[in-house]
Symmetry: C2
Amino acid sequence: MSGVIARARTPVTAALREIQAPVADRLEEVVAAMREILVAELPLIGSVTDHLLRMRGKMFRPTLTLLASAVEERPQPRAVTAAAVVELMHLATLVHDDSVDHSVLRRGLPTVNSLFSHQVSVIMGDYLYSRALSALVGLADLELLRILTNVSNELTIGEMRQLAALDRLGSSEEDYLTTIRCKTAVLLAGACEIGAVSGAARYRNALAVYGDRLGMAFQIADDILDYVEDSGTTGKPSGLDLRERKVTLPLIAALRTMTAAQRSRVDAFFAREDPDDDAGVADMVEIVVDAGGIDYARRRGAEFALQAEAALAALPPTPARTSLLEAVGYVMERRS
Amino acid sequence: MSGVIARARTPVTAALREIQAPVADRLEEVVAAMREILVAELPLIGSVTDHLLRMRGKMFRPTLTLLASAVEERPQPRAVTAAAVVELMHLATLVHDDSVDHSVLRRGLPTVNSLFSHQVSVIMGDYLYSRALSALVGLADLELLRILTNVSNELTIGEMRQLAALDRLGSSEEDYLTTIRCKTAVLLAGACEIGAVSGAARYRNALAVYGDRLGMAFQIADDILDYVEDSGTTGKPSGLDLRERKVTLPLIAALRTMTAAQRSRVDAFFAREDPDDDAGVADMVEIVVDAGGIDYARRRGAEFALQAEAALAALPPTPARTSLLEAVGYVMERRS
């Protein structure tokens, strides 16, 4: 999550625009639908809504919903509302995450908790979620409701898993995969599945599997970036996860192969709680790279990416399917 | 809200037990249903759930749902799940309220934010709400979903209204009534309405109106208690709302009739932000009583109570109807 902040100012890449091309018009409708769903008489809600719609990101999840609904070139109009609901659910979790983490910036703009208050961010997250659900209930389809209430259950369980991780250096790869499935992959899977239900029902399972594997690859790529990306100012990786002592796949893999001396340095780093320990972060990055943790995570990410592509094999050769295939490459290659 | 804390240790009154008698068995089933809805593999969720079920209150809202479902003596089994969902939604808002207010105690037990952490309480509130909704989706009735997602929208708007009230002493009676309708009455109205939909559909509108007026009377009575109840230790009103500079009906009414000298003392009290200003609180209580604010609020509460009773006029003379009538008296006379 926190990695998003450091990578906030990069504009939408051309590659993503190409992926979005088959649904570009309807993506504009999604933004209008989001605004309409959130409308309220209370000026404070209007101010927070305006801010949130300004800070909206690349609309990757609604893009998946719209593309999934279009794989047979018969997308239903309700796919637009469904896509708006997915993005609002995503926004609701971001607002609560930022509140819980006391984050100051997201996507280059002040968070709701920093610009308004902690109170406003907790209640506004609830507002976003309950409005999204009302819009979903308005579509009068229990299947859509089943999919997305299940997604939101899993998202909260993913957050609780992160909070409950006491013995962080004892986390197994399986723990990690379960957590990222809950916190990231279920929402991408749900975005694809509700798209399928809104225009390509026969590919519902294939698209849900695609979204799940894409989500796993997405989060692993995100966690690798925290170790390898240039932060832009120092020329070194920002290591935001390390500063919060979050244990992700590169470190889990490296812990299995590192030397005893390296392990002592890792233990000492985790015993300290100093987020400003730049030398410590640089040392951790060096150890993880040296022990092959990045290479291992890249291989695991590539496996999920291949599974995502394989899930699309049975789909008809439409522009939407091409975009979904390209989305796999986008997730693997993105630098922001 | 905060008034609940000081009145935490009073046991359930005999009167409430009598009101609950026609549905006592099914009220036990509601508790079991709540536990089942919340079950999760993660130990942290289990710990918080156990704590929340220990601190559960008088189950007033589920009681209303069960009674409403029984007014024709043909309650549907799903009323138990619907009642559990209502109480879980209520618990979710309490957990977020306590987190937002940094409250330490509720119903005589530590709040989730104080016993676990602020983070756990934000995410656990989300968990409670999303599990409640999943259980509701499981009942596969869009009408129940429409009623309760609308309730949760209104609840968040009520909370935002409270946060947005900048010119507190400028609040009108209409502002106050809108806020308490959003934050309290809509949930009681929804509890009654989903009960009606689960066994007494022809009385749906009557029971929704009953719940709304009961909720208005309930909140006004609660706000009066803050001015008049003995806090138990000092022999004086606790004035918790005044300590937080919350403006409720007794003060709004008193502001219309108080002398200029009294108004100056009120302005000075609100300009200070000291929550421990016992003398100031005592002075405010004296002014509000003297200016007739309590009497006015009692009259307004009694009007809503009469409207609640009137809404029951068309219902058949069943034990459930008798209990709903008695619930009006309970709300007006309760001291805790």
